[in-house]
């Protein structure tokens, strides 16, 4: 995806958010407590966001692509080395995120209990990030058992937290 369409997407999202915030701030009824409504500051922020976004949109589409790259050079350099270097896999990020989401869902619904679901999450996470081999599977199991048990011990025995 090129810079322009990405920035366009950002602008669209921001404008939507601004509209949503403005609308919901407008719904707040007048209170007997204060003359200034609770919606005033949200509205101010929503309008600022919309304004800044429009400005940004104009600047993006007005500028020649090369000039723009130079403009935000500093910030980009680092990000490029960080996220777009060779071997960066969006899929691994996606799978890790989904795994994390699944883990939290388990906790919320109380499906497996904290200990088991955390162990499974850690083990699967490690397997996902390493090459599949017998050695890595064994290591993953050991590390997950060890780390989760330690965490559970610390929180339930030393401190009195009830984990989900």
């Amino acid at each position: 995806m090129n810079t322009r369409s990405r920035e366009g997407l950002l602008a669209l999202a921001c404008l939507l958010i601004a509209a949503l915030v403005y609308w919901s701030a407008d719904q707040i009824p007048v209170s007997l407590m204060a003359k200034i409504s609770a919606g005033l500051v949200p509205k101010m922020i929503a309008v600022s966001l919309a304004l800044v976004t429009c400005l940004h949109l104009i600047m993006t589409f007005k500028s020649v692509p090369e000039a723009e790259d130079e403009d935000s050079q500093g910030a980009m350099k680092m990000d490029v080395t960080e996220s777009e270097s060779e071997g960066f896999s969006v899929w691994r990020v996606l799978f890790s995120s989904m795994l994390l989401g699944l883990f939290i869902l388990c906790l919320e619904q109380g499906w497996l209990g904290f200990w088991l679901s955390a162990c499974l999450f850690t083990a699967l996470g490690i397997v996902l990030l390493s090459e599949i081999s017998v050695r890595s599977l064994v290591l993953a199991t050991m590390i997950s058992l060890l780390s989760v048990s330690l965490t559970v011990l610390l929180f339930t025995r030393v401190f009195t937290v009830i984990l989900p």
Binding site: L9, I17, V21, S24, A25, I28, P29, S31, M33, A34, I36, S37, A38, G39, V41, P42, I45, A46, S48, L49, V52, L55, H56, M59, D71, S72, Q73, G74, A75, M78, D79, E82, S83, S85, G87, F88, V90, R92, V93, S96, S97, L100, G101, I104, L107, A118, F121, T122, A123, I126, S130, S144, S147, V148, T151, V158, F159, T160, L163, P164
Partner: protein, 491 residues
């Protein structure tokens, strides 16, 4: 006074109290360094354990944890690019790039020394200037709070690298995230969209954990682990020279003073201390463009200030019984549980407790310096753990940490959502720092603005006729336009 203080030092350096301080400081550093777990949580969880103890022992361990946890956050900020605790958030901006450039040891040493200096400066204020400072802090009303926070908000624009507009967009989104929940002025639900779970808004810690820790860990998961360059800690790297530290003298002192003052103001907190001192350092620096690229000044400003808030926050607590920070609330609870009444008479009735706070804080500071400087070798081994193991384990700790904040799974979902949002921020090349600053400062600014208006009977002019407020507002306007003048004049 000096004799009582030295007597207290003698007492706290006894074997048992000293051991408690040591345990507290070390546990604070470790918990502070682990992303997901933080000092406030540790202190709150330790409190019930101290129930039957001698009050001074309770103070020893809790204050030790307070000092240790604020300092420990530096470690993961440097080595993992994840602030270990919210107050070390600004530290990541420079410490992490410095580490990536191959100088992690320097970043750590600078941070540790700055932490120590910040702690000592605020300790001096605590011991010698508590009563007058507390009096000034009392006079600081909503108008002044608002002006102070507005000055810091204005400074967001000076933090932008590259496009200032994108920094502003990010800041606005941060402000919006701070809005949902029960309105503090009218007690009306705002932007909760009918979900009762949203009544409490988005928890500060859950959001910060998400956007810093989860985002970083998830994107670490995407890196090719065979090719990715890792931060290596070369223990043989030379110790930083005295000259390097001396060059930061002015910055150290200024940041410590800022941190102390912000700490004294109840309801503001350690992360605001480091935000204000960092942006001030950047705006006063001769080379502001080096900030965010791994410069000494940034690390020093943030770390000196956040440690200085500890001593600052203890000032209203020991003089008036008013908590200066979230951890102070728990310290006050500890006193109450031991049937010691915090309040203006604490010094009169329980002088030994007040001196206990003072001596413990100093001892904990020195212990922190020693433990962390010598512990670096151990850390070197720790970060050699491959990230394929580190990422899932740390994610579990983040989940536990987000849950333990308020014992709700909702907060864990919030953390997850902001972790994913953080990935989008990276993809869209939106800077995160303005987002976080907007998020942290907006509630303080809004509440105080509207409270001030109620006090002024809706007269905006009142902001300009109060001397302190007017000066602070003038400063923020000057600061806002300073970068524009700078750009015109090539350095």
């Amino acid at each position: 006074m000096i004799s009582e203080l030295s007597a207290s030092f003698g007492l706290m350096l006894g074997l048992e109290p000293f051991l408690y301080i040591l345990i507290g400081t070390v546990s604070g550093i470790v918990i502070g360094a682990i992303p997901g777990l933080n000092g406030a949580m540790l202190v709150a969880l330790t409190l019930p354990l101290t129930y039957g103890w001698d009050p001074l022992h309770a103070i020893a361990i809790l204050v030790g944890q307070y000092v240790g946890s604020i300092s420990g956050g530096l470690v993961s900020a440097t080595l993992l690019n994840i602030p270990g605790s919210p107050s070390s958030m600004m530290t990541t901006l420079d410490a992490a790039p410095m580490a990536r450039k191959g100088r992690p040891l320097r970043a750590l040493q600078l941070g540790i020394i700055a932490s120590f200096v910040g702690g000592v400066v605020s300790w001096v204020a605590l011991v010698f200037l508590s009563p007058p400072l507390a009096k000034i802090a009392l006079k600081f009303g909503p108008h002044e709070y608002f002006a102070l926070v507005l000055a810091a908000l204005m400074l967001i624009s000076s933090l932008s690298e590259g496009s200032m507009l994108k920094a502003l967009i990010s800041a606005c989104i941060g402000m919006i995230v701070a809005l949902p929940g029960l309105d503090t002025i009218t007690a009306q639900p705002r932007m909760t969209f009918g979900f009762s779970q949203m009544m409490a808004g988005f928890n500060l810690l859950a959001v910060l954990l998400g956007i810093f820790a989860v985002t970083q860990l998830l994107s670490d998961a995407g890196r090719d682990l065979r090719k990715a360059e890792r931060v290596r800690l070369d223990v043989k790297e030379s110790f930083i020279s005295l000259a390097d530290v001396a060059r930061q003298g002015v910055n150290l002192l200024r940041s410590s003073l800022i941190g102390t003052w912000i700490g004294i103001l109840p309801g503001v907190g350690g992360s605001v201390g480091s935000i204000v001192s960092y942006v001030t350092a950047k705006n006063m620096s001769r080379k502001p463009e080096e900030f965010g690229q791994g410069c000494d000044e940034g690390v020093v400003a943030s770390e000196a200030a956040n440690n200085a808030t500890v001593g600052g926050a203890l000032i209203p607590m020991i003089t008036m019984g008013i908590p200066g920070s979230i951890i102070d609330v728990i310290l006050i609870a500890a006193l109450t549980l031991h049937n010691i009444r915090p309040g203006p008479l604490l010094f009169q009735n329980n002088a030994e407790i007040v001196y206990g706070f003072m001596s413990t804080m100093m001892i904990a500071n020195i212990l922190m310096l020693v433990v962390m400087l010598f512990g670096i070798r151990l850390l070197a081994k720790l970060i050699d753990v491959p990230s394929k193991y580190l990422v899932p384990v740390l994610l579990v700790l983040c989940v536990v940490g987000a849950f333990a904040v308020n014992n709700r799974v909702f907060d864990v979902w919030v953390m997850f959502a902001f972790g994913v949002l953080g990935l989008f921020f990276r993809w869209l090349k939106l800077p995160v720092a303005p987002f976080v600053i907007g998020f942290i400062l907006t509630p303080i600014a809004e509440t105080n603005f509207r409270t001030a208006l109620i006090l002024s009977r809706n007269d905006l002019l009142d902001f300009l006729t109060r001397p302190v407020t007017a000066v602070l507002l003038a400063v923020s306007v000057v600061v806002l336009f300073l970068p524009l003048f700078r750009k015109r004049r090539p350095a």
